[in-house]
Amino acid sequence: MNLGLLVTVILVLAIAGWIIGRQRAVASVKGDIRKLHSLPGYYGHIVFLATAVPSLLVVVLWILVQPALIESRVANLIKPSDIPEGSSQSLVMADVRRIANGLDAVVAAGLPEDQLASMRADFSDVRGRLAGVGVAIGSNVSNSVFIAAKEYRSAIKSSAMMMTVAALAIALAGLAWSLTRIRPEFRARNATERFTMSLLIASSLIAVLTTVGIVASLLFESIHFFSIYPASKFFFSTVWNPKFGGGSDLGILPLIWGTLYVSFIALLVAVPVGLMSAIYLSEYASKSVRAVVKPLIEVLAGIPTIVYGLFALITVGPLIRDWIAMPTGLGNSSSSVMTAGIVMGIMVIPFVSSLSDDIINAVPQSLRDGSLGLGATPSETVRQVVLPAALPGIVGAVLLAASRAIGETMIVVMGAGAAARLSLNPFEAMTTVTVKIVSQLTGDTEFASPETLVAFALGLTLFVLTLVLNIVALVIVRKYREQYE
């Protein structure tokens, strides 16, 4: 039985269990469902879960564990002499797997099983045969590899058989067991809800695990980096000047400055524009305008950043240079913090506008009425009553926008340039941490050099930095939040 079929069978069993469980529950109180502790559906859920969850877990576990078990068994069949020089056990195993799959195809193409069993690699052209069914093998097949492949194939088959039997048995056991447990006073709802809760908890754990994973994957190489580059220089040097052949200056300060500066300008554009759009849409605009404009603005978030990058490079950059920077004598570079910031700001407008709009919309009308009834203008109402009530959501939206801005590369590369610089002048080129992470990681420099590894240290530092910013934001929200009823 193949996997898809097995899962289908288990699910069918479970659905049947749901129906039977429900019926049994109803029958146990002779149709008077008021006597049941929970709604009949919940009894069905319990049976469904008892049938499907353990058996599917077994299937998943089996699939995860089986290859390792079988491979270790088959690997014993391969003598060290069968492994060509420079190759490795794992490569030979790859061949074994490919041959085994090929044999399946050969059988499917009409070779009887018994003939296959007596087939030997040294007497027949296995490679040719396999090529005939479209399975390419890199080189000729030695006999022990061929035997291993046959063994592998049969092991897989019997293992699959065992898995099917086991899974079905567990499903049926779960089904029977849960059906016997159905009694009117059985707290089926609580049981289902406990299961649901564990799913909810598991889901939130994923976010935590992601963090652990990120920190772990950055930490190792960061430590490596700090072992070959002094941390004090990294954190306190104001020069960022990586070189090809070593001897680079890798000070993070100009990058952090650029990141904060560009993000700040981006927010300076996105927050007023986004928030005002959100306010207009939720408080003033008619339903039909809102229905059209909101999704339209959201398209801004979906335009690939490369388009924004080109927009910054070709349109906004020269515009700012020719109309603002040059006349005021502040600079003559077409790529500047200003350019990148403005364009990035446009990109993140929908983060602020759409999310805030939803939150503002969720503020109860009675609050607005209260304010309007006192003779406040709509704008006063919005500013003094609605926005404070919607604050947590709005701050969340702004943080999300800021996060997006901090993580952006393409716009910065094209709009702000690649020069790391500590300067207050917004019309000069600068660059950000993220840009350097990408460029150092994907460059032509050697991987084990500080020039590449610095990317990990940059990532980790940025992580800590944004963490601090987020904590500050949380504290502020806690302080000013106004909880409505």
């Binding site: 109860p364 304010s371 009834g373 006192l374 003779g375 406040a376 909880q483 009823e485």
Partner: protein
């Protein structure tokens, strides 16, 4: 109290608000039908009538709070000091500054108690400095009979008050802007008798300067505080007249039966 009322009646013959053939629709639902009424200055007018008859709806017409309900449509004329408040030139904000409102469901802002009351004076710029504002807040809370209970927790949120306290907070908030007309939708529904008496006293006091419209389900309350009474039924203004007359000598059989079924 009663004699005070009689005493004052003579001065209050100028009409403050008059409605002419006012109609209100919620979508298809015709909630207010052909209401004609003259609300006099310096008078307390009571709206009575069974639940759902349109009292709140009509009240909300008088300061255009209905504008906030998308499905709501108002026809006919409603004049404030002879000026049509539904005229395009009228700024509802100015209107609402003149015609204040206490809503049926208490809706304190999720701000501190102090800020709730100070909100109106602040936006209208009625005070010159913090001390004045403090004084206004205190006097309003006192008038609304809430000062004693909240004076130690002015900075805690208004939403953390009990139902009756919230209601009084909303009254304090409404009088803090000193409107010319005060619309009160069941201002005492959640109040105990003593607080109710205090609010009624407040209403009587307000009457010396302003016009007050109050919705109530309590006939006694209507009789106690109002000089004029309007009885609504199924969206119609069935009868309107002096409170004495309505309660002692109703002209319409519906008024009669509503009043006589009094249990209240």
């Amino acid at each position: 109290m009663k004699d005070q009322v009689t005493e004052n009646r003579v001065q209050t013959d100028t009409s403050k608000i008059s409605a002419k053939k006012a109609q209100v629709y919620y979508g298809e639902n015709h909630a207010i039908k052909d209401v004609d009424v003259e609300i006099l200055d310096k008078t307390v007018t009571a709206f009575i009538g069974p639940s759902g008859c349109g009292k709140s709806t009509f009240l909300r017409c008088l300061n255009r709070m209905n504008d906030t309900i998308p499905s709501c449509r108002v026809e006919g004329k409603i004049l404030l000091d002879g000026e049509d408040i539904y005229d395009a030139r009228v700024d509802p904000v100015q209107l609402r500054a003149k015609v204040g409102m206490v809503f049926q469901k208490p809706n304190p802002f999720p701000k501190s108690i102090y800020d709730n009351v100070a909100y109106g004076p602040k936006i209208h710029g009625l005070t010159r400095n913090k001390a004045e504002l403090d004084a206004v807040v205190e006097s309003c809370l006192r008038k609304a009979a809430l000062w004693g209970e909240v004076k130690d927790r002015l900075t805690s949120p208004g939403t953390g008050l009990s139902g009756g306290q919230q209601q009084r907070l909303c009254i304090a908030r409404a009088i803090a802007t000193s409107p010319e007309v005060l619309l009160m939708d069941e201002p005492c529904s959640a109040l105990d008798p003593i607080a109710t008496a205090q609010v009624e006293e407040l209403i009587d006091e307000l009457r010396s300067q302003f016009s007050v419209v109050i919705v109530t389900h309590s006939m006694q309350q209507a009789a106690r505080v109002s000089q004029k009474t309007a009885f609504f039924h199924l969206g119609n203004l069935v009868e309107y007249g002096s409170t004495d007359q309505i309660f002692t000598n109703p002209k319409d059989p519906r008024t009669e039966s509503y009043i006589s079924g009094r249990i209240g």
